[in-house]
Amino acid sequence: MAEIKVIEEKCTGCGKCVSSCPFSLIKIEGKKAKILPGCNFCGTCVDACPFEAIILEREEKVVDLSDYKGVWVFAEQRDGRIMPVTFELLSAGRHLADDLGEELAVVILGDNLKENLNLLKKYPVDKIYAVQDTLLSDYKTGFYARVLTSLIEKFKPEIILVGATSIGRDLAPRVAARIKAGLTADCTSLKIDKEKRCLVQIRPAFGGNIMASIITPYTRPQMATVRPKVMEKILPSSSSAQIIEIEPDLTGEDELVRILDKIRVESDVKDLQEAEIIVSGGRGLGKPENFSLIRKLADILGGAVGASRAVVDAGWIPSYHQVGQTGKTVQPKLYIACGISGAIQHQVGMRNSEVIIAINKDPEAPIFNIATYGIVEDLHKFLPALIEKLESLSSTKK
C-alpha cells in the first residue's frame, strides 16, 4: 500500500501543493494542506512542497521478470490491408528493442496472409508470428484476444505495442485484463529506463491538460496502446525476419459477437484522424449552408472537414465530424479553425496539430492563444478570398 501524509508541524499552508496537484485534490483547511480522497499517489505535491511537509511512502517489491524477452508489435489490418499505425509502432518498437538488446517481433493474425507477410519481411524486424484461420479474417474481439493471449503465454514478450485505434483499444484491454498485465492507453512517447529495465510510457490525460509518465514495475508483459500519427514510420531495409507460423485453436461455435454488416461512410467523410489537413467550422459560420465554404476550402487543399460541438449539436453537420473532448482527437499537419471560439473542450482535440490557422472576428477569442497564425477577420470575407487565390494557384499549377 502506498500512503501519503502531510506533516502538520512542517506545513505552513503556503498552498504550493494545491496548485501543483494535477487532480485538484488538495485543499487548505485550517492553514494546513489536506489531501482529499481520490489521490493516486503521483507524488507531484511532494516535489512541489518547499518545506518537505508531504511524504509519500511506496512499498517496493522485488520480483523476477527475466523470463520475459523481446518487443512485440500487433499488426492491425482492415480489409486485409496493414494499417499505417503498424509501421509507426514498428519504428518505436525497433528503438525499444535495440535499447534493450532484444528482438523485435510483429504479430499478425488473419486469413490469406501471404502478401502481408511478404510486405512485413521488407522491414527490419527479427521475427514474424503469423496465425492464419478463416475465423480471423475480420477483427473479432473474442478470437483475436484468445489467440494473442495464447501467444503471449507461450512466448512471453517483455513489451507489447498496439495501435490506439478502435480495434486496438478494443483488443488490448481485453487481453490485459485476462493476463493481469499493466496497460497504458494512447501513449505519445515511449522510452526505456535502462537502470530499471522498464518501459516509460508517456501519455496525455485530462484531454492533454497534463502529461503522465507511467510504468509497469512488477509484472510483464508491459502493454501500451500508441496514438496513431505520432511516431515516424519505419523504413524498409534488408532483413532476415524469421516467420513463425502458429496453428490457432478456434471453433466457429465460440463466436459470440457476429458481424452482420459493414457500413462505409460517404466518401466525402475522409477519416479525420488520418487527414493531413483539416478545415473546421464553428458557430461563426452563421448558418448550416455556409459549411459549403468549409467543404470547398477542404476540397481544394486536399483535406477533411471538421466541426465544433456547437454546430454538431445544432444539427448543421453529422457528429462524426466533431473535434474535441467529446469528439475526435486529431493531429494533422494543418488545422484551419473558422468561426470557432476555441473553448478548452475544442482545443484539447486539436491543439497538437503542427500548424493552426484561426480565423475569427473576435480578437479576444481563446483560439488565438494556440494559433500559429491568427487572422482577425470576418470569415465570410476571408475564406472566399483565400479560396479564390488557391484556385488561381492550382490552375497555374496545371
Binding site: 502506498a2 496548485s19 485505434t165 491538460n209 484539447v348
Partner: protein, 268 residues
Amino acid sequence: MLRIVVCIKQVPDTEELTKVRINPATNTIVREGVKSIINPFDENAIEEALRIKEKKGALVTCISMGPPQAKEALRKALAMGVDRAFLISDPSFAGSDTWATSFVLSQAIRKIGEFDLIITGKQAIDGDTAQVGPELAELLGIPQVTYVRKLEIEDGKMKAERVLEDYFEVVQVKLPALVTVTKEINQPRYPSLKGLLNARKMDIPVLTNEDLNLPEDKIGLDGSPTRVVRVFTPEPPPKGEIIEGDLEEKVQRIIEELKKRNLLRWLK
C-alpha cells in the same frame, strides 16, 4: 425483465481544471474541492438504459466507484430516472488503475445480482483510457461491443452499430453483454423537477470492502499493474502570430506560409 447496470464515473469539469492550471491558486484561495460532473459519455450510458426501460421495461441500476462525494453523480442519475444506485467506496480502493477498478466493479456487479446488459461510457474524460469497459467485460466473462452509436434489443439479443475510424460495423450478440457508448447514441435528458425531488429522498447504499471482501493484492495501488510516476504540464505551444494588414495582404501571407511549410502539396 431486463436487468441493466450502468457504470458511471465522476470526473472534474475540464473548465475548472484549466482554471486551476492557468491561475495557480495562491494561499488566499480556498477551494471547496473541484466542481465535478458525470463523465459526459456516462450520461449517454444512463440515457440509453432509460430508453430501453421505457420501451421494454427494465430494472436500471447505476454504480460508481469513487470517493464519498461521487454520491452526487449517482444522485443525478437517480434524478434522471434510474431505479437504484450504489456507491462502491473504500479507502483501500484508492489508487486503483483500470485493472483494479475493473476488478472492483466486476465484483460489485456480481454482488448486486444477475444482469443482462452492462453499459459504460466509451471513455472517461479525465484518464481518457477507454479501458475499463473491455476490462470489466473480460473480468465478468461476457462479450463486449465497444464504441456503440446505436443499439436495439430483441428476444435476448442485442443488435448494435459500432463506430470505427472509417466505417461502422453492425453486430449481433446474445445477452448478457457489455457495451460502451459514444455520444452519438443519444441526447441525455435533464432531470425533471419531480425526478430531482424523488432522488433527494432515495437512499444510496455504499458497498465497502467489508461487503465485497476483496484481496489486497487485487485492489488499490497494490492491485494495480501500472504506476503513475510523474505528472507534468505539457510545454505550451509556441506563441503564435496575429497576421496584420488588409484582407489581400493577409491572404497573401497565409499562402506564403503554407508554401513555405510545403502544405500546398495536395492542392487540387
